[in-house]
Amino acid sequence: MAIKNKKLNLKDKYQYLTRDMAWEPTYQKKEDIYPDEQFEGIKITDWSQWEDPFRLTMDAYWKYQAEKEKKLYAIFDAFAQNNGHQNITDARYVNALKLFLSGVSPLEYAAFQGYARVGRQFSGAGARVACQLQAIDELRHSQTQQHAMSHYNKHFNGLHDAAHQHDRIWFLSVPKSFFDDARSAGPFEFLTAISFSFEYVLTNLLFVPFMSGAAYNGDMATVTFGFSAQSDEARHMTLGLEVIKFILEQHEDNVPIIQRWIDKWFWRGFRLLSLVGMMMDYMLPNKVMSWAEAWEVYYEQNGGALFKDLERYGIRPPKYQDVANAAKNHVSHQAWGTFYQYSQATNFHTWMPEEEEMTWLSEKYPETFDKYYRARFEHWDKEQKEGRRFYNNTLPQLCQVCQIPVIFTEKDDPSVFSHRQIKHEGERYHFCSDGCCDIFKNEPEKYIQAWLPVHQIYQGNCGGADVATVVEKYYHINLGVDNMEYHGSPDHQRWLDIKGLKPLQSNSEKKTAA
């Protein structure tokens, strides 16, 4: 065959190797093959306008990913063989990993499921293929995380039953409901929620703190899997931005729908990230940067540049962004204060910051920490040292949407809890904020279904009426072993043993160990 045309460039060649394999069906109706593409009201007039966010054919994918995996597993092996867990700064750090494995890893798996599904749903083959590659990447993340944590699980408590706990523990319904919300939405909302709002806008605030935290605290296994996973993330982020631009360019009627979704998913993401905020400020023995600093760099600066770029489509920054920006100086303290009180029902330990950590918090939060939080934390610390560790035994009121207890305060008055309520079909519903309340009002039929852990305990659906039974039998938490106060816990004892130290009366052994 004679060579007639011009050689294809990379972009056209990639199209031939992906979307050109698709065809216009004639034996079945398009609506029957792609039944979910219409109901959200998003109008796509021409899928051929889709810009492939990356051009990775399967052969290159297998090659590069195998290379990454080979490096990663070599480090996991070395880490386990050398008992790398002994090199971390302090065993308190492991509690960040417990939060990660039970709160984040199951989301990776949910992302795999969600992308596998939408990777079938779009009638545009370019979009399908991009989603499928993300699906298998997310499967990768969920699995490498099991493997990275495997060694820690053998040496510390609280990491042993993460997926079971993700389905049940009260605060884990915060991340779980977030992803359930996205997965139960239509395919376009799913992508706006996860690819755009989560992966593009907020993921830096999840991964960079965790991974830098790991790097600062001697955790080689986590740094390695985290950064290796993040190398996939660059592709996911590109997809997130392409998706949004594509939908917005397709039809002007899409703009208000996308704006509503951006508002919703920004707010849900912001609430979810309060767990990361407390991790950064309170759970890392060696601090990387404060939550407020991370928020400034990764949301205020990067997000600002992004939303300026999207202005030309008629998209404005998310509603209640101002509330979120103001809250950066409060959320981590409020969240940690809550988890400290309810530590009998978490799968990790809590503790009060040591004096030098309090000093760091005062420096990083000059306007808020000393004024609103220090006194209470010092009081709790004193109580604990005198043998009266404080636990709160009343079950908290959860927000109907984000499912975080109603613990956050008003933007203009940090001494007043932010609490909204409305009546819907004769029932009263409670919210942590206007942001969550708005989300409910847009889709009440969805949010009245929420599996609210506290209600479920009251209704007797969690194996018992008293906290101890629920925690041990239903949550599979070994009470006092996996959780509660860190000082004096088996993990703490074991750490002192590893470091050749005797338990001391005060909390200052970290300094002598260094």
Partner: protein
């Protein structure tokens, strides 16, 4: 200060995760086990999907097959993500060197015009069948409710995309990477009589809702006839036409199919073995779809290997199905 490490503090306090220990006992677990069992959400879902309000997320009723525990279906290859990409990286390296070899020596463009045309008409259109298989397996990965099952289908989905890409590259070798040959080949898929029963079958499969029915039809029945017909018999037939070099370019598919038999056989066996109810329903699907797969391949066999070859393959599939307690009709084996 001197740090003395006591041996007791080095000993593990447990050997694996609790969920793994509940299944296999508290002993050191394999990477396959820790990555594949009980990591998928099972209960307490918050909202019913807008796209399927009668069911929950991860609802077992998205197939008529009933399993006490879907994790009973496991992968004999023990592929988790890392093992999977490692394996495929090796396979693609071999494929790459074969494609490079053919390209450098112009092995395809040296073929007679008529043979080149046959490749575009008879082999390359299968890339569209592969895309259908890709979509189907992605759907199954999203619907299946145990990681052991879901991941095998996700791997199959990306495999099929890759195979579609290898088939497409045969055309790119023929036309010097202009895309012209792919355009031509696609017209056969759309309009040539020979492909219409297959295209109809593929489009009909795209509207199958039950994910286990879909895996049976795609990965067991259609592939069970199509892969041996195309990549063994038609491959030999192409050799007789002087196109034996094409074999180099489809080696991936031959190796792939041989490997895929391991998990598809194991999966079918486990699900049939679970209950008489499962077996009966599967038998209904086999009876319904196996003849469709046969009919879809018939024109291709007639144009190439002859129908006998397809009948022999049909008999082989029937033997394969019989081993797991299912019967396919229409064969004198």
């Amino acid at each position: 200060m001197t740090i003395e490490i006591k041996t007791t503090s080095v000993e593990p306090i447990r050997n694996t995760y609790s969920a793994i220990a509940r299944r296999f006992g508290d002993k050191p677990a394999t990477r396959y086990q820790e990555a594949s069992f009980d990591i998928e959400a099972k209960t307490n879902f918050h909202y019913r999907p807008l796209w399927d309000p009668k069911r929950t997320l991860n609802d077992p009723s998205r197939t008529a097959m009933q399993m006490d525990d879907w994790y009973a279906v496991t992968d004999p290859r023990q592929f988790f993500y890392g093992a999977y990409v490692g394996n495929r990286a090796k396979m693609q390296e071999a494929a790459e060197s074969n494609f490079g070899f053919c390209d450098k020596r112009n092995l395809l463009t040296r073929l007679p015009e008529e043979t080149q045309h046959q490749l575009l008409r008879l082999l390359v259109p299968l890339r569209h069948v592969e895309l259908g298989a890709n979509m189907n397996n992605s759907k199954i990965a999203g619907d299946a409710i145990a990681t052991t099952v879901a991941q095998m289908h996700m791997f199959a989905a990306t495999d099929r995309l890759g195979i579609g890409q290898y088939l497409s590259r045969i055309a790119l070798l023929l036309d010097g990477s202009t895309g012209k040959a792919l355009d031509e080949s696609k017209t056969f898929w759309m309009d040539d009589e020979l492909w219409q029963p297959m295209r109809k079958l593929v489009e009909d499969m795209l509207v199958i809702d039950d994910w286990f029915e879909l895996t049976l039809v795609q990965n067991v029945l259609l592939d069970g006839l199509m892969y041996p017909l195309i990549y063994d018999r038609m491959d030999a037939w192409l050799g007789e036409q002087g196109a034996e070099d094409v074999s180099l370019l489809t080696e991936f598919q031959r190796d792939w199919f041989k490997e895929s038999l391991r998990w598809t056989n194991a999966m079918t066996k486990t699900v049939v073995g679970e209950s008489e109810g499962n077996r009966e329903q599967l038998q209904i699907w086999v009876t319904q779809w196996e003849p469709r797969a046969y009919e879809a391949l018939k024109p291709i066999a007639q144009a190439t290997t002859g129908l006998d070859a397809l009948d022999e393959i049909r008999a082989e599939l029937s033997v394969r199905l019989k081993k797991v307690g299912l019967e396919s009709t229409g064969v004198q084996a």
